[in-house]
């Protein structure tokens, strides 16, 4: 399958010197920042935009996620924004003129207990009511979709069925970033790497620019899309976020012939597995428990997810682990994102996507661009406002979102 991959690109964007001033500055050159700039330029005609990236383009969580795309969320607000995201994904390869190997191979979320079965069926019904493709599979149907899975009763938590979303899938994450970056650049957006924001310039309660490692840059509006470092940037700007940053680990095996045709997630034994186009098995699980900014976690977390994977997929027992790594995820207390204005005028924040941000990339950018351009939330992200922690209108996807998010 490796020969299906596009060639490594040459230079797809300029590396301009920062200008003195921009209409909009997006802090963070990951997927969400790039998508935001893309929609600001393409949907709202705002092209005097800079993306400021502390390291290199898409070198954070955009390069570290397990690339799963799905929209089978329980609550209406989540289903709406993630399904919109999936629909955008379906059009983006053509729109961005870049085949980033979006592969709608489906996702199965396994049920291992009677409670799992009840919750899964409830979620299937909720999904169908919200126009999200979803079905319930019994164990035999699970085996038909993914023949390598063990549906026997000889394991600690036998597979009792699964929800299935056929339109879900995976994409090649770095190519997604490059696709957005190329289009942003074509429309005049300045992508400025190695440019760390070190402070915010304010006039009263209104942000008017940022201090950076490459000097002061003025801005009409500023949007934060920095995931794990959101609290650090909010601190600099003078407000607080209900975010806790945690390490999240993932891993890949060596390359194999195609054996795994879909994406399998299990909340109960806690692992998610797909096979990348090149052939490596890609796995992830939950966060390391403690707050951390170190982009690394403990090996027992990796060991537990591998144990779960081998129980579900006995043929993985002889596979070699090639590489593990960690990213920093920005978790909220209701496991839902924050795409919102802030207590500072003209400063907007997009964070809290936690462990599930990759799938949300297009809708995150789409709604954040709308919020920045118009000063008002788009109907899709209005429920994801920062003030929901005061009003109590939480969107509690803990346990509801098909895997521990």
């Amino acid at each position: 399958m490796a020969d299906l991959l596009p060639e490594h690109p040459d230079f797809l964007w300029r590396n301009p010197e920062p200008k003195k001033s921009y209409d909009v500055i997006i802090v963070g050159g990951g997927g969400h920042g790039l998508a935001t700039a893309y929609y600001l330029a393409s949907k709202h005609g705002i092209t005097n935009v800079a993306i400021l990236e502390r390291g290199w383009l898409a070198g954070g969580n955009m390069a570290r996620n397990t690339t799963i795309i799905r929209s089978n969320y329980l609550w209406d607000e989540s289903a709406a924004i993630y399904e919109h995201s999936l629909k955008l994904w379906e059009g983006l390869p053509e729109e961005l003129e870049y085949d980033f190997l979006f592969s709608q191979r489906g996702v199965m979320n396994l049920a291992h207990t009677l409670q799992d079965v009840r919750e899964s069926k409830r979620r299937v019904n909720a999904n169908v009511l919200n126009g999200v493709d979803a079905e319930w599979l019994d164990p035999q149907q699970v085996k038909e979709v993914c023949p390598i899975i063990n549906i026997g009763d000889d394991i600690r938590y036998p597979v009792m069925g699964a929800t299935y979303q056929p339109r879900a899938g995976i994409a090649k994450h770095d190519h997604v970033a490059w696709a957005f970056a190329r289009k942003c650049d074509e429309m005049g957006v300045d992508i400025i790497q190695n440019c760390e924001v070190t402070g915010f310039i304010k006039d009263g309660n209104r942000v008017t620019g940022v201090e950076t490692s490459r000097g002061r840059i003025n801005a009409g509006k500023v949007g934060l899309a920095v995931a794990g470092h959101s609290s650090v940037l909010a601190d600099l700007a003078g407000f607080k976020l209900p975010i806790q940053s945690h390490p999240l680990q993932a891993l890949v095996s060596e390359l194999f012939e195609p054996v795994h045709p879909t994406v399998v997630m299990s909340n109960h034994v806690h692992v998610y597995v797909s096979q990348a186009h090149k052939g490596e098995l890609v796995m992830g699980a939950g966060i390391d428990s403690y707050n951390g900014y170190g982009q690394r976690g403990a090996f027992h977390v990796v060991e537990e997810q591998l144990a779960a994977a081998v129980e579900l997929f006995p043929i993985f027992a002889r596979a070699h682990l090639l590489r593990t790594w960690g990213g920093i995820v920005d978790t909220t207390f209701d496991a839902s994102p924050i795409v919102s204005d802030t207590p500072i005028n003209e400063l907007y924040v997009n964070c809290g996507w936690g462990t599930g941000g990759f799938k949300g990339t297009p809708a995150s950018g789409y709604t954040f661009a709308h919020t920045i351009a118009t000063g008002e939330a788009h109907p899709l992200n209005a429920p994801f406002a920062l003030d929901r922690f005061e009003t109590g209108h939480l969107i509690d996807e803990h346990g509801a979102a098909a895997v521990a998010h």
């Binding site: 963070g28 990951g30 990236e53 502390r54 390291g55 290199w56 070198g59 954070g60 969580n61 760390e196 490692s213 920095v226 995931a227 794990g228 470092h229 609290s231 650090v232 601190d235 607080k240 976020l241 209900p242 975010i243 806790q244 940053s245 428990s289 403690y290 707050n291 951390g292 900014y293 170190g294 982009q295 403990a298 090996f299 027992h300 920093i328 207390f333 922690f389 005061e390 009003t391 109590g392």
Partner: protein, 111 residues
């Protein structure tokens, strides 16, 4: 895996412990006086520093006691652990490991 110095049992492996988030969050003295913002802060807003952090741990597979720790969230290094009810140790800056103050990015890592 972290080696965590339990104040009762000494250093033990991380798998014996349960994490409890930020330490020293007191129940509101007069809950009826709290407005919505006050409740939000009490329930949902926690510090999230990149650097030294006072946090709770429980030695779940050992003495089962909760205790507090000062740990660096960037290096993961424990500076101190102390029993519940004891005040947060005041560590002079010069006694902290060099990396324990809030780091800036050029020294390592990216977002």
């Amino acid at each position: 895996m972290l080696s965590i110095p339990c104040p009762e049992c000494g250093p033990r492996d991380e798998i014996e412990f349960h994490y409890g988030g930020q330490a020293h969050i007191a129940y509101p003295e007069d809950p009826h006086a709290l407005d919505d913002r006050g409740w939000a802060e009490y329930l949902f807003y926690r510090d999230n520093p990149k650097g030294l952090f006072a946090e709770r741990w429980q030695h779940a597979a050992g003495c089962r006691k909760w205790f507090n720790a000062l740990r660096n969230t960037w290096t993961y290094e424990f500076t101190a652990t102390y029993r519940v009810g004891e005040p947060r140790p005041d560590i002079p800056a010069e006694e902290l490991p060099s990396a324990a103050t809030s780091p800036s990015s050029p020294t390592g890592g990216t977002l």
